[in-house]
Symmetry: C2
Subunit: 343 residues, 2 copies
């Protein structure tokens, strides 16, 4: 028979209620009573029943996390950030992965709601349809989008300057005089793709250059994608002297493809990734990339979520974390300081 509050109450002669109060550190309990009850609870190996508890109280102290692609360490880092803050705050996490399948998103959230989570952190697919928006609008708990957004719900997001990041990448590449930059962009089902594409376009526009659409590919964002894209670009004779990648994983694939075609990096082609994974510095050559504050993204999202859980009337506000370009061996130059130079 499991030890419950009643067991302890019977064993000590106090009421169930008093036992409950002691174990919850409720005020107005005498030190003596408290000691007696705690000792008995220890002795009996009492384990509180959080299920029963959250049945009565409005809080479950559990959040739901809907992550995207579990094979990408980017998300592990974000989740680690969430997890650290959650632990600080005494929350536990239910985790699910969509693997970028949009239809799993609502399903997972429903499952989490059914588990009565106090709030949600989501890395949503970029579906700004009315029904999807309505779905979110109807959620009975606070929710934060981490690293992504939905049109119309922008304020729910913690972002990491995607426009700015990709703009810097292309500013650098264009400043180096590249005329044919292969751009291995991301999948359309993700808001980051839209933002980074915008950043790219802005950099071209700043120099009054037109974008050559044939050099822009939208790929799912896995390793094979980078590899195959580079191969087929070469086979098709689609000349290029630089490759900008949606993430470091794609860049790894690209690097491999380039090497197999005897193209040297950065001499024949400069390559830049995105995310700055721990591993990127160990690639051959060490990958230049955009550093994204992954851990901080998760940590911040949880921090904000907590505030909304504590105060449901709090207004949502977007936060945009800064990113920065990191130069390693897959690029040949450095960014020239743009001293209010040309627009």
């Amino acid at each position: 028979m499991r030890t419950t509050l009643k067991t302890i109450a019977d064993a000590t002669g106090f009421s169930i209620n008093t036992v409950s109060r002691v174990l919850r550190n409720d005020s107005r309990i005498s030190a003596g009573t408290s000691r007696i009850i705690r000792e008995k609870a220890d002795e009996l190996g009492y384990i509180p029943d959080a299920v029963a508890s959250s049945m009565r109280s409005p809080r479950t102290k559990t959040i739901g996390v809907v992550s995207a692609d579990s094979s990408n360490p980017f998300f592990s880092e974000v989740i680690k950030g969430i997890s650290e803050k959650a632990e600080e705050l005494g929350y536990q996490m239910l985790i699910g992965n969509t693997e970028e399948h949009a239809e799993k998103e609502e399903h997972l959230i429903r499952l989490f709601l059914s588990r009565k989570v106090d709030g949600l952190i989501i890395m949503p697919s970029y579906d700004s349809s009315a029904s999807h928006l309505a779905f979110y609008a109807s959620l009975p708990v606070p929710f934060i989008f981490a690293g992504r957004y939905l049109d119309g719900l922008e304020s729910h997001s913690v972002l990491h300057g995607d426009v700015e990041g990709e703009r810097e990448v292309f500013r650098y590449l264009l400043s180096r005089g590249h005329e044919r930059i292969l751009y291995l962009s991301g999948p359309p089902c993700v808001s980051n793709t839209a933002d980074r594409d915008r950043g790219m376009a802005e950099a071209y526009a700043e120099r009054g250059l037109a974008v050559d659409e044939r050099l822009i590919l939208h790929l799912p964002g896995h390793m094979e994608d980078g590899y195959q894209a580079v191969n087929s670009a070469i086979n098709k004779g689609l000349g290029f002297t630089a490759v900008a990648c949606f993430n470091d994983i794609v860049a790894m694939g690209a690097l491999k493809g380039l090497a197999e075609n005897d193209l040297s990096v950065p001499d024949d082609a400069e390559v830049i990734g995105y995310d700055n994974l721990m591993f990127s510095q160990f690639m051959a050559p060490a990958l230049s990339t955009v550093d994204v504050p992954k851990h901080k993204l998760g940590y911040t999202a949880m921090d904000i979520l907590r505030r909304h859980i504590d105060d449901p009337s709090l207004a949502y506000e977007t936060e945009n974390l800064p990113v920065r370009l990191i130069f390693r061996d897959s690029t040949a130059g450095r960014m020239k300081r743009n001293k209010g130079g040309k627009t």
Copy 2:
């Protein structure tokens, strides 16, 4: 006001009980009733309350996962395996990380028990003390150790031939004639270290060679460890011509250290990792390593756990998944087939 079974019952005129039966696909319900109730439930946007449900029924359909080091993609892969099987079976996961701090292990498990998980998958620290063993013996739910074991509870584990794997590594290295092999082993707080050390020792013993303890370092297993160890080994003039690493992450650090000291791999030193992370093939040079079935490990652990949840009287049995050595560019040779050769 939230929609509950009662709301639907009142709206349709049936009893709460009947509604509950319909929504749980219980038998003995007329098709008509079922349809009416389902429609009403949809219309009202009913979300089942899993908390209340698991209060009455013995199952919560939730498992707890105690992972170790969240910064190592090895564990992400294992968790992905768990997660896939869990989803198939309709289970949800509560996840926590010890970051290899032994004291967090019991704490997390207690938290999970308090949430009434149906079972646990744990990557435990190697603490075979009586009290820790007693702790596990007293758990009221089934538990599986993934990739690790505890002395006295071996049968609870799904393992991946650690002895065999490291033995192969050293068989290869010794067959290449190396006389001074730097062995960057793992932390003592993990059963894999003990097993791999054993595999190493066996390989030496097979050739009647003594192990030089000065060439064996036990490190926590992070990137810096490999980097620093190689550097200090070189600085101390501790000559070596090969490096065997506890995992691919350590190997990455080692590779970096070697490169910075102008030692060429594999010519000046052959390097072998362990785990076969996705990234390892992209390092410079591509890393030779031991392939561990990470995904399968998690998937199998969940599969076994489910069987124990369904039948608590089932006897525990260790499973030992096979590993294999993968040769890439950080080694110079191939394994000679050991055709019943020496020993």
